[in-house]
Amino acid sequence: MRFSPAGDPGTPDARSATRYLVWLAGRHPVIFGAGLALGVIWMLAQALVPAVLGRAVEAGLAQRDPDALVRWGLALLGLGLVQAVAGILRHRCAVHNWLGAAYRTVQVTVDATNRLGAALPRRVAAGEVVSIGTADIEHIGGAIDITARGAGSVVGIVTVAVILLNASQPLGLVVVLGVPLLMALVALLIRPLHRQQAAYRDSTGRLTARAADIVSGLRVLRGVGGEPVLSERYRQRSQALRADGLRVARVESLLQAAQILVPGVFVVLVTWLGARFALRGEISAGELVSFYGYTAFLVSPLRNLTEAADKLTRGHVAARRVVRLLRLAPEFTDPATPVPVPAGPGELADVRSGLVLRPGRLTALATATPQDATEIADRLGRYADGDVTLHGVPLRDVALATVRERILVADNDAQLFSGVLRTELDPHDRAEPGAVAAALAAASATDIVEALPGGLDGEVAERGREFSGGQRQRLRLARALVADPETLILVEPTSAVDAHTEARIAERLGPARHGRTTLVCTTSPLVLGHADHVVFVEDGKVVAEGRHEELLAAEPRYAATVSREEDR
């Protein structure tokens, strides 16, 4: 049973949630089948214990036969050993079933996310996809895992029913009819419990969010105060959660009492009938012990079945979410016959605004409103549809991979991924020696790397949270420079750095992009002053072009946008 945790996941069956679950189960048919078989053996071994015990009491003790006692005693031991071995093997299969399903779901989720790319936020709430990772993979794994125990439990219950019917029809009937009744009774109680538990989990989540909120706001608190108020508010919520917890406990305690009472009453009924039959000589004293044992045993497969029903339902709901994600289509697909773009630098033009990027130059774009800049950048990078041409070829007719390769849009929402910093800056490991250092210097980010323990080989935490906003911005800029695309579009690359650093970046950006096409969207005079060419856009249209000084002198609206002296 070769199990490869991170192998090729294959093509998931996304036609429905059920088909997806079946597809998952079918990925490891041997493990899945062995799990079912072992689950049956394991449960049967348990089901037979009362029978053997009864024989030992009857044949060995009541009849005073030492040989029979030893024989049945050893049979009991053998049965126990079979149960232990089958149990652990079943568990091993179950774990692999669980992991196989969970891991595969992780893989197809990552693939689907990558396929959707920039379109993802527009197609589905990020939280919906993230919750696949936090909760759904557990439920899907659980649904596949429970099949083995569920199958064993069904066989166990059927076996006991058959034995009982053979021993005594009325007693057997009591058990066969009583079991579904018991299940229904317990299921009735479990539903309100789940509701209460879900409410408790939500409150817990909210309280945790509050504590995390305090941690995140600690620096702010240290500056102006407010600790006693937050402490008091947390305490109130915590006490409310405590009350919620007691509400759950009330339902839970009822359920626990029912779990004693319902099977208990059943045991009493069977024992009473059994004792009556034994008195009349219809069954032996040993069989009475067996009957008692069977009814006590039935509690366990019954519980398994309730759990199986619950897990399969949850797994199905979770699989629905996964299937929904798998069926989403990306926003742009490649044209039927992609038009090749001539090699080498070429003019990139946005028809709607009238912006033209001349190859090999550092162009700066100043806009009266920030939305104008992001809309133009999105069109130029084909994150939004628009009449944009590269080398005269409409981007719509170009393969998306080609667009992504030749034009890079680097904005401030870009993510810094966790991992080794060097890999983060140079993900394709293609940069020539010294290129990373040069990019860091151009982005004025060398000091960040020096301060990071381990330097370039140091680890970046999730979202680069150990860096300040300005540091993250400089690292993102360095990453874009290392990527060294033919056309680079930078959106507000210096909005979060101080004036000294901004001045350095402005000076170094041109030389770093020498011979390449670059667009910087900015309103900083320091950066605008270093651009080869400045374009001013108002209401989505180019209204003036030229060098920074010329525009300052000739275009009062430009001057008002880039310099705030006017306001004072």
Partner: protein, 589 residues
């Protein structure tokens, strides 16, 4: 990691647990007593069944059978009722203890010195806040009561065995060495294994979040293969961790199962031998065998929860560890005598001064090398300089957030270090570029600095920073829920909230650390008007990104490499032709 927050040692954890137990003697006694009674009631049935078997083999009357079965039924009902109240009692105790644990933890976090948070990063603290509190919650809510019940049940079954026939209890003891050795082996390895397993699992979850949040970046930088590789690497690590714990269970579970099996088989065989010898009745042996079988379930549960206990203990150690960090402000505090001797602040001019201060985040790496700065009351002083020069650190020292490692920061001659926080904040407040909107209502977010402030003052504070209009326009006005999960605010609005807090706190000196830097310059313009209202009549030390603020300031201090290199008015510095003048010229064109 030397930077990580400390973890409490075993002795501290034990002391704390003992102290917890001492705090709730009655709740604990109630839970213990009820669970013991419930478990006891559950043990009567096998004994009565044994009597029944004995009676039937000797041919008793049907009425006797009815009486015995009725007794069994009665005990089932009694046990069910007892279980209900026992569960409630232990839940009541558990929830109370849990609430205390988390509330004390949050109070410890709130008292944490900022230097510690900066050094360790908020990541570790966030993990403790979410993951460790959750782990401990599992231990207190489930592992605690379940272990308690299981242990009581085991004891009672053994007691019942002894009552049934002292000799018949002996075979069950055969299981002790097997279970003892097996459990010892397992518990030495399990907690580490499960911690690693959970950590690897969280990595998978975090990896998916990152992939989802960075979907556009992945597409832009063509990193799909790398995200895939990250996912696969997480999966492989998780599988390695899972395989280890699975190996542990593969060894331990069969051993344990054998351990449960031995008492039942041994009781049957040895008891049967006693019966053949005439030392024990059929009923005694039957009951003893059933009791031995009944031992399985509680022992299994007991052993199953033990590793959860270890995980909970480790979490508790991390939660308690947060308190173990000494407060640098307290460490640097003056003795009570000195404080008493210092002149009172009432009526003071509010003159803040730093004398020859040094500061190091890591010992031996001074960020400030003996800085002296005396802002004049009412003046606006701008601090400029490259990133990492020590501007922010100096700002925090001036605001009393950090205590200097050498030198003094005083207000009207009294050292800030060691001054009670409530008093310190009537003197000086710090606003940083990290504007944080707390979970709660908008009004709460402002009023938190002055809990006694009435709604009218909160409105006045919002009005002073031009925020009242948009605040009233929110869905529920000032009662709108904001912060994580609430109504979203723009960065500029968040910053206005921070400024409104300042108006309400009303200190005579303000330290503004790049307070408007993360906001789009076009929005910053409106914000600066709000700011002007706040600054009116106060001493202001502004750490500036944008040179406008420097231009408008009364004096400018240029900070470079942990020292003040230039100090004077804008015009003086421009005339002096130093680094400030160069920057101004390049900026101003």
């Amino acid at each position: 990691m030397s930077n990580a927050l400390p973890v409490a040692d075993i002795a501290q954890v034990r002391r704390y647990v003992r102290e917890l137990i001492r705090r709730h003697p009655r709740g604990l006694a109630a839970a213990l007593g009820l669970h013991a009674l419930a478990a006891g009631a559950g043990l009567v049935a096998p004994r009565l069944l044994g009597d029944l078997v004995e009676g039937i083999s000797q041919g008793v009357a049907a009425t006797t059978v009815d009486r015995v079965v009725a007794a069994i039924a009665a005990f089932v009902v009694v046990q069910a009722v007892l279980v209900r109240f026992a569960h409630l009692a232990s839940a009541r105790l558990g929830e109370r203890v849990l609430a205390e644990l988390r509330e004390e933890f949050v109070d410890r976090v709130l008292a944490l010195p900022l230097a510690t948070v900066e050094r360790a990063g908020t990541g570790d603290l966030l993990t403790r806040t979410s993951r460790d509190v959750a782990a401990l919650s599992r231990t207190v809510r489930f592992a605690g009561p379940e272990t308690l019940i299981a242990a009581l049940t085991v004891l009672l079954i053994l007691g019942a065995l002894v009552l049934t026939g002292p000799l018949l209890a002996l075979p069950s003891l055969l299981a002790v060495p097997v279970l003892w050795a097996g459990t010892r082996w397992y518990l030495r390895r399990a907690p580490q294994g499960y911690l690693r397993e959970n950590a690897a699992y969280s990595d998978i979850t975090d990896g998916i979040s990152e992939t989802v949040e960075g979907a556009r970046t992945t597409e832009a930088l063509r990193q799909a293969a790398r995200r895939r590789a990250r996912g696969d690497a997480d999966i492989r690590r998780s599988y390695a961790a899972e395989r280890y714990t699975l190996h542990l269970r593969t060894v331990f579970w069969p051993v344990a199962e054998f351990g449960y099996l031995v008492p039942m088989v041994a009781t049957l065989l040895i008891g049967g031998w006693f019966h053949l010898k005439g030392w024990a009745s059929l009923g005694q042996v039957t009951a003893a065998t059933l009791y031995a079988q009944q031992l399985t379930d509680p022992i299994e549960r007991l052993l199953g929860w033990l590793d959860e206990f270890q995980v909970g203990g480790a979490s508790l150690a991390r939660l308690l560890g947060v308190a173990a960090e000494p407060d640098e402000r307290a460490r640097a505090s003056a003795t009570p005598d000195e404080r008493a001797a210092a002149p009172g602040s009432a009526g003071g001019a509010g003159r803040l001064a730093a004398h020859d201060v040094r500061y190091a985040y890591r010992p031996g790496h001074d960020v400030l090398h003996g800085v002296t700065l005396e802002p004049r009351p009412g003046e606006r002083l701008a601090m400029v300089g490259p990133s990492g020069a020590g501007k922010s650190t100096l700002g925090r020292l001036l605001a009393g957030v950090h205590a200097p490692s050498a030198g003094t920061v005083t207000v009207d001659g009294r050292p800030l270090a060691g001054m009670p926080l409530a008093e310190l904040r009537t003197h000086v407040a710090l606003v940083s570029q990290e504007h944080h909107v707390f979970i709660g209502t908008l009004a709460d977010n402002v009023a938190m600095v002055r809990p006694d402030a009435d709604p009218a003052r909160v409105r006045a504070a919002l009005a002073a920073v031009d925020a009242l209009d948009w605040a009233l326009a929110l869905p529920d006005g000032l009662d709108t829920a904001v912060g994580a999960g609430g109504h979203p605010l723009t960065p500029a609005q968040a910053q206005q909230l921070a400024l409104a807090r300042l108006v309400l706190a009303d200190p005579h000196t303000l330290v503004l650390d790049e307070a408007t830097s993360l906001i789009d310059p076009r929005a910053a313009r409106a914000l600066e008007r709000s700011l002007a209202a706040v600054l009116q009549g106060r001493t202001v030390i502004a750490i500036a990104h944008r040179l406008f603020s420097a231009h408008d300031a009364d004096r400018v201090a240029v900070v470079a490499d942990g020292r003040i290199t230039e100090l004077g008015s804008h015009d003086e510095l421009v005339a002096a032709g130093g680094s400030y003048a160069a920057l101004w010229r390049s900026w101003h064109g």
